[in-house]
């Protein structure tokens, strides 16, 4: 009977020990609790805190103090939303959003503070009415035998077959204009799929890292990212990629990749940036938050969070708009003709 008693006591001890809970600290659903929860998410998981401290003077600790002072226990949800959005705006990141059922907090200065360099009517006039559409890609051959391709969003799924058929159709052209102005991103799978048709070799296009812990400097070793050549039709002639400030996120990465491909010129304005792969989380009140979690770099390990400069700067002029001409497309045609 003594053996049974010892067995019983050990069993109870083991059950109590293994029943202890692995639990994350949860904040109250109060203005202060929500601000603290948001501050902690960014403090532990946001990937550009140190980089932005160096480049734009971000002080995330000071932001906590500053915005805590703007809280009051009886403030409305709308007021709280505004305070939290203002705190997030300190990060100056287009990938950072706060979502309530009524609104989406955002930072869009990366495009709103700059000229658009894109006129939809003008672009449509170049496409005409007989252009082709392969999944999300519109294309046609311009009068001077230059292929013109418009890819408006990398959320539009485009397969290898679509891209190969398009490039085969354009195969006799002297060059290609790839217009990604206004493309604010989408899936990296589609952006790298398109870029893979412009290289014959596996090329290093950049690096990526991720956070390995809650510290600001807890990052993994940079992992090289390579662009593998497509098994489909591969373009061998000059290419000009048209960019503007709206080229963000996956499109920013696309421009990074294309920059490493041979015979490619980037023309237009600096891209909008957005090189952090965004993650999601949420606050005690149920609002969702999106933030940059994994930084991506170019092939020289430079940050591209604030965009990529073009090889040739070019702006859409008011004079050209008046006469129905897209300055960037015409400049791209000229570049291809000269090559």
């Amino acid at each position: 009977m003594r053996g049974i008693r010892v067995f019983f006591y050990y069993s109870v001890l083991a059950i109590v020990m293994f029943s202890s809970c692995v639990r994350e600290e949860e904040f109250d659903d109060t203005p202060e609790g929500n601000l603290e929860a948001l501050w902690k998410i960014i403090d532990q998981q946001y990937c550009f805190l140190d980089y932005k401290a160096e480049t734009i003077g971000l002080d995330w600790n000071a932001a906590r103090t500053k915005y805590r002072q703007r809280l009051s226990p009886d403030m409305s949800r709308l007021q709280l939303f505004q305070v939290l959005c203002n705190m997030l705006a300190e990060l100056q990141d287009g990938h950072v959003n706060l979502f309530s059922s009524a609104d989406m907090g955002r930072f869009w200065s990366w495009k709103e503070n700059y000229p658009l360099n894109l006129n939809d009517e003008l672009r449509d006039s170049y496409l005409g009415k007989d252009y082709k559409i392969g999944a999300g890609v519109k294309y046609r051959i311009l009068e001077d035998n230059i292929g013109y391709v418009v890819y408006e969003s990398f959320t539009d799924a485009t397969g290898e077959g679509n891209l190969s058929d398009m490039l085969y159709y354009l195969r006799l052209c002297d060059g290609l204009i790839l217009d990604v102005r206004g493309n604010s991103g989408g899936a990296l799978t589609y952006s790298s799929r398109l870029a893979s048709h412009f290289t014959n070799e596996k090329i290093l296009v950049g690096y990526t890292r991720h956070k390995t812990g809650p510290g600001h400097n807890d990052f993994s070793t940079p992992e090289a990212e390579y662009l593998e050549p497509s098994d489909g039709v591969r373009w061998q002639k000059p290419v000009v990629v048209l960019t503007n400030r709206e080229c963000f996120s996956a499109t920013n990465t696309f421009v990074r990749d294309m920059r490493e491909c041979p015979q490619v010129i980037i023309l237009g304005d600096r891209t909008g940036g957005g090189s952090g792969l965004p993650f999601s989380s949420e606050l005690p009140c149920g609002w969702a938050v999106r933030f940059s979690a994994c930084p991506m770099f170019d092939a020289e390990m430079n940050q591209i969070e604030f965009g990529i400069a073009p090889d040739l700067y070019c702006s859409l002029t008011e004079y050209d708009i008046q006469r129905g001409v897209d300055t960037l497309i015409e400049a791209a045609r000229e570049v291809i003709r000269r090559q």
Partner: protein, 235 residues
């Protein structure tokens, strides 16, 4: 079959705890082997668990599914004529997914683990109106194993490109305190027994700075059939 509620938290997906209903389907076989004069029993336990949970503000849902299989061997003592004490070990595997319907690039968390567990229990047979009722308690505690986990801020996009970073983690009770407990009562009928029970299944881990708990408590309802395998000579 077990119905109950579960409390889930996975900081890779959200810092909030999600709660909601859980359905567990379980298939168990147990038999005495010929080893050690018939004192070693073999147990096979297949468990499928499905859950639909919600965060406390009711703004997002998690859909969970998990399949676990354990094969166990127990040494059996009979300190009293109607009491059987079992102690032994199990080898098991656990595979599953937890999907959050609102997240972007971190929409789901995969689970895969292999473990060796300690397993203890007791079976007590008593009679009411000359019919044998069987009460059983069993606790299974993983002691040693390995589990998959993404790194703290690693995306599945990176994983899909072949980037690895401490994704196979050593698991033991300090970083993965788990326990499954079952308390059952078998009520005899003509050809089978009705099983009523309580299942408490706590799966937890804290690796790569990601905290996970999935604690389910369910009431079980099932049936038990007893088979006797006879050798040809005896037939």
């Amino acid at each position: 079959m077990a119905f109950g509620r579960t409390h889930q938290q996975d900081t890779y997906l959200s810092p909030l705890e999600y709660t909601g209903p859980q359905l567990t389907l379980m298939h168990e076989t147990m038999r005495l082997t010929h080893r050690s004069q018939g004192r070693i029993s073999f147990q096979s336990l297949l468990q499928g668990t499905f859950s639909l949970t919600q965060n406390s503000p009711a703004t997002a849902n998690d859909f969970g599914g998990r399949i676990a299989y354990d094969a166990g061997w127990h040494y059996n003592w009979k300190p009293l004529p109607d009491l059987r004490i079992m102690a032994g070990g199990q080898v098991g595997t656990d595979f599953g997914i937890l999907y959050n319907d609102r997240n972007g690039n971190n929409p789901a968390q995969g689970r895969l683990s292999f473990d060796i567990a300690a397993s203890v229990g007791g079976i007590y047979t008593f009679h009411l109106r000359r019919r044998p009722f069987i009460a059983r308690y069993q606790a299974d505690i993983p002691l040693l194993g390995c589990m998959f986990s993404p790194q703290f801020g690693q995306s599945y996009y990176e994983l899909s490109r072949g980037n690895r970073d401490h994704n196979v983690c050593f698991a033991w009770p300090v970083n993965a305190p788990c326990i499954r407990q079952m308390l059952t009562l078998d009520i005899p009928f003509r050809r089978f027994s009705l099983r009523l029970g309580y299942l408490s299944d706590a799966r937890q881990s804290h690796v790569n700075h990601i905290k996970v708990h999935d604690i389910g408590r369910s009431f079980m309802l099932g049936f038990v059939r007893h088979f006797t395998i006879q050798s040809k000579e005896k037939q």
